[in-house]
């Protein structure tokens, strides 16, 4: 996965800013095709409720894809996001259905949001520390939680499905603001904040430097270890938030299922959005775009009654096409 620029006659790229926008075009093209196809074919596509449904479904992928983009920018990858979702999603109901929370509902509700995210943060720090301090390769470092994180969640819940009815908690999954599900707004706010940091703050610069040339970054005083840990930690916290959203929508928490296969969707979204697995680039809005593309593919196939097995093949083809289109544009 090295930069093979020297061998493959690689014409100079334009400056990075326009490069980001160009590489988005693969995803944009895919989006355009999907929209046109749906408007023409899918029944009732142009409908406010369609938008709401898609926004509510894409929110979790988008959040995790944003986090994944940060990790990928350091040249890493995070397979543990689904497991972290399960962990935080399993914790929340345990907390607000506990006796203590029953007696102090506000405190309990607050704790149900905060404690799972702290747990997710710890997972992220663990991943980051393995990668940055011990030098374990990211796939393997995050494989540890991929395997065991969900197990921990199931141990916590004894494997049981936890169902509950808690309208104030379910707010983050079911409420709407201006007709759009509240988690959609949440995604936009979080993405905007992260985009700002990546674009305008020193830590963003550091992130790209670490991914672009780790040794050079270290030599320039960049706190490489901290930057990497921060990337994994942010990714895990965002996964944690997604886990809470899933649980809130369903009014139920099933540790075995929350976030299943999320890592693959998130990685695909990040890459369709223009992230490069070797690091050094962090297209945040690209990740959102990628997530929207993945979501629309899913929606299109489902709404048109394409059988699950065929849908898998179609999804594979679309990912290949979108990423290949980007590759072409980059030259």
């Amino acid at each position: 996965m090295s930069d093979e620029g020297m061998i493959m006659n690689n014409p100079a790229r334009k400056e990075r800013l326009s490069l980001v926008s160009i590489s988005r075009h693969g995803g944009l093209a895919a989006l355009a095709v999907l929209l046109i196809f749906n408007i023409l074919i899918t029944p009732n596509f142009l409908h406010a409720q369609t938008l709401a449904v898609n926004v509510s479904q894409v929110a979790t992928i988008a959040l995790v894809a944003v986090g994944m983009t940060l990790v990928i920018a350091t040249g890493g990858i995070d397979l543990s996001v689904g497991a972290v979702m399960a962990l935080s999603g399993a914790m929340a109901p345990i907390i607000f259905t506990s006796d203590l929370a029953q007696s102090y509902p506000v405190l309990g509700l607050g704790a149900a949001f905060v404690l799972p995210l702290i747990a997710a943060l710890c997972c992220g720090i663990f991943n980051g520390a393995l990668v940055a301090i011990l030098g374990v390769q990211p796939i393997i470092a995050t494989l540890i939680f991929f395997i065991s994180g969900r197990g921990v969640a199931q141990v916590l819940t004894n494997g049981n499905l936890q169902t509950f009815s808690n309208p104030s908690f379910s707010f983050i999954g079911t409420a709407r603001l201006f007709g759009i599900p509240v988690q959609g707004w949440l995604v936009i706010v979080i993405a905007a904040a992260i985009w700002y940091v990546v674009r305008y703050c020193a830590s963003g610069r550091y992130l790209l430097a670490v991914g672009g040339n780790e040794r050079a970054a270290r030599m320039s005083g960049v706190p490489v270890t901290r930057v990497k840990i921060m990337a994994y930690a942010t990714c895990s916290v965002l996964a944690g938030i997604s886990g809470l959203i899933v649980v809130a929508i369903n009014s139920a928490s099933d540790a075995a299922r929350i976030g299943n296969l999320m890592e693959l969707d998130a990685i695909a979204a990040a890459v369709v959005g223009g992230a490069v697995l070797s690091g050094g680039r962090a297209p945040i809005w690209g990740a959102i775009l990628g997530a929207v593309v993945i979501q629309l593919v899913k929606y299109t196939l489902l709404a048109n009654g394409v059988a699950d097995e065929v849908a898998l093949i179609a999804k594979a083809g679309i990912i290949v096409a979108a990423v290949y289109a980007q590759q072409m544009r980059k030259g």
Binding site: Q137, I140, S148, R150, Q154, L312
Partner: protein, 330 residues
Amino acid sequence: MANAEMFDLRGLMGRHAQMSGVWVALAAMIIFGLLRYDNFGSAYNLGSFLNYNSMFIIISLGMCFVIMTGGIDLSVGYVAAFTSIVAAYLSPWGIVPALIGGVAAGVAFGAVNAILIVPMRLPPFIATLSTMLAAKGGSLVISGNQTVAVDWDSNFTKLGMDKAFGPIPWTIVLVAIAAVILWVVLERTPLGRTVLAVGGSEEASGLMGLKVTRAKVFVYLLSGGCAGLAGVFLASGFGAGQPLEGTGWELTAIASVVVGGTLLTGGLGSIPATVGGALLLGLVFNLLNFENGRGTISLSAYWQMVIRGGVLFAVILLQARMSKSAERAK
């Protein structure tokens, strides 16, 4: 040069530390098992353990070659599921057509990977992720969403169910032969050395005039073929082509390769250590089953997941420490 001798020592320690972690851990686990559990060392357990894990060893071997070039192949699990169906359909004609057909189907998937990765230059992670989805969809399509029975009357199931000698099953014999061949290819042929060189630096290999493209195509075809063989074992050993099998195999294979001390960034790798890694990970399951059988603590399925993650963590820590102390020994 004055410093030559110094390099000797450091290199030797460093080179073996990464690979020896797996043997230490494996030996420790076997001794633990023998001491703690009755029947752990029984011929029956040995035979069935090897038979089941032959599938994982073979895909780990293919994965090892892919990883040595700095690539990755996520499609192996579902490709094996796909080829198990192909083999099941071919089983009435006997063992040879089913074997060849299954492996060929795997190689075909490998060819798709190779096309996506080499001429189309997609990142291996994304390319093989897509083939993984396609292979899963494809196996459901060709099987009509059902498991496909093999022909029990042809000799096909002998491959996966009979023993070659003593408790040693045929599958592991085939795997051993494959491992030896691959070992020779890696250590003693230009192709094998090119695979390693490409993983060390693709750019430099190209400038050195090595056949980079051929090496990259080869590893994906090989990995596909190995997955194909695993699929044949699956069909033959379990009597059916199984569209739902194969989930997570790719991660098991990657973990085996890494536990065997191969760098995911490519350029280094060992065939025996990869086999050791696959055996080690398989042994975790086997030991857990025996532990459950003692009845003192009955571990739930979730604890087993936690423990597997913990074992992986421990092996990684062990490796990190061993290569550190080898470094310090300078």
